[in-house]
Assembly symmetry: C2
Homo-oligomer: 263 residues x 2
């Protein structure tokens, strides 16, 4: 018997998130979906791995049925544990989301949603992160979920999933106001950092992060797409080396300066 | 009066780490050093940001003197809070380390040490992450610290810190066995994931991460340098877009498929 197309679904908002729920329901229309997700909200955890405490796995029920496995760890933990230990076979695709809050530009570094998809990509499995352009948990995720599922089916049929990692961002708009889909590059937005300083009832200072995200207006970028009502699909590739600097750095006379005595 | 060259020092092993202590002592020979570091061990936290709880800042004493500020957050939090709030002026350089455990190849994604330096780089300040090729906390960090300080002085004098982010890894060897310094590219090492399943005294399963790091043997890479006794300096640049895929992705007939009805 031919095995059904298998998708591992995860997120960083936690296994009880509506974003994940609607996504899974839409994906189940054409695929077998296994859910392994954090047991609670894990936003902004980046590529955190849990190495100094044990991970627990519990069945999570929704509407009286097992919806998936909840893990007391980060999105990266979930994917690593699922691939190495929990799943019977290698999934054909990994989908992370739908996250409340857009993950464009530099947020790729901070996002647990993208980190989970990155783990899939590092394991050699095509992976997709999906985020929504709002933090409003009341925003109905049903349409974004169905749209995501349709996009994935398109990619499967027309492109055979020939990608490593896609970062999809969907504007928080009613269907009729979404202008289309754009393949984008990662923007150069930044965070204007700010911490609000307050005093607790015991007279001690504390600080809350109150940074402001300053989106890129660079046409063709992920930020630009969202701001203009387009669904953004960014093909991601992690490249860390600044090759342009290697030659210049080699001009510094390090050679032979291997021990302290030679400095 | 001319202001002294200012360095912000941080790490991910925690403000009480010997790696940070020896590094700061070495740097103080030529610079003013301000320390803002996590109040406890934060390894493998990646680019985690603390957004859902307040940050506390406390003075940390060492040998009866204020050594620096301890923050109940991640390395990224420390740098953001230091730059936006705690420091009186913008540092000329940010140094993160010395970390116990090498941060080569894909570990750039997971490392809190590198994440702290990345925050500096994103804020437009030359930043350096420094890691040691051993997890043995008994390994004497004095020589690696002095070597790091000498390298930084060289970069300052000969290269005017014309870089964004350098990822330095130092082999855990006695000075006489270090073969030299190499400017390297980021390797393609990977983690062979494995979780050990155990049963707790109450009969419930738990999992420990027991992954194995499989270093790259690619000549000229950071992993190769460390394995061959060289200090590795990798110029880092974060580039996320897979431009090679943008054209191919555009061949998928997304255009016009903006609403569900049109699929």
């Amino acid at each position: 018997m031919e095995k059904k197309f298998l998708i591992l679904a995860t997120n960083d908002d936690g296994i009880d998130s509506n974003g994940l729920f609607h996504l899974v329901k839409s994906l189940e229309e054409f695929a077998e979906v296994k859910v392994v997700a954090p047991d609670k909200q894990q936003s902004a955890v980046g590529h955190m791995l849990t190495i100094s405490k044990p991970l627990r796995v519990t069945k999570f029920y929704r509407n009286g049925e097992v919806f998936g496995y909840a893990v007391n760890g980060s999105p990266s933990d979930c994917v690593k544990l699922a691939l190495s230990t929990l799943l019977d076979r290698k999934p054909d695709l990994i989908v992370s989301g739908i996250n409340y809050g857009q993950n464009t530009s530099v947020n790729i570094l901070y996002s647990g949603t993208v980190a989970a998809a990155t783990e899939g990509c590092l394991a050699g499995i095509p992976s997709i992160a999906i985020s929504l352009g709002t933090y409003d948990l009341e925003f109905d995720c049903k349409f974004p979920a169905e749209l995501s599922s349709k996009i994935i089916k398109k990619l499967l049929n027309e492109q055979k999933l020939q990608f490593k990692l896609l970062n999809i961002n969907i504007p928080a708009l009613p269907p009729s106001e979404i202008k289309g889909i754009r393949v984008t590059h990662c923007g150069n937005a930044y965070w204007k950092d700010n911490y609000v300083k307050r005093v607790d009832p015991f007279g001690r200072d504390y600080y809350w992060f109150a940074g402001e995200f300053v989106p890129s207006d660079d046409e063709g970028s992920d930020d630009w797409a969202i701001a203009n009502g387009f669904v953004s699909i960014t093909p991601v590739n992690f490249s860390f080396t600044d090759y342009s600097l290697i030659e210049k750095m080699n001009e510094v006379s390090f050679d032979g300066l291997d021990t302290l005595s030679s400095f």
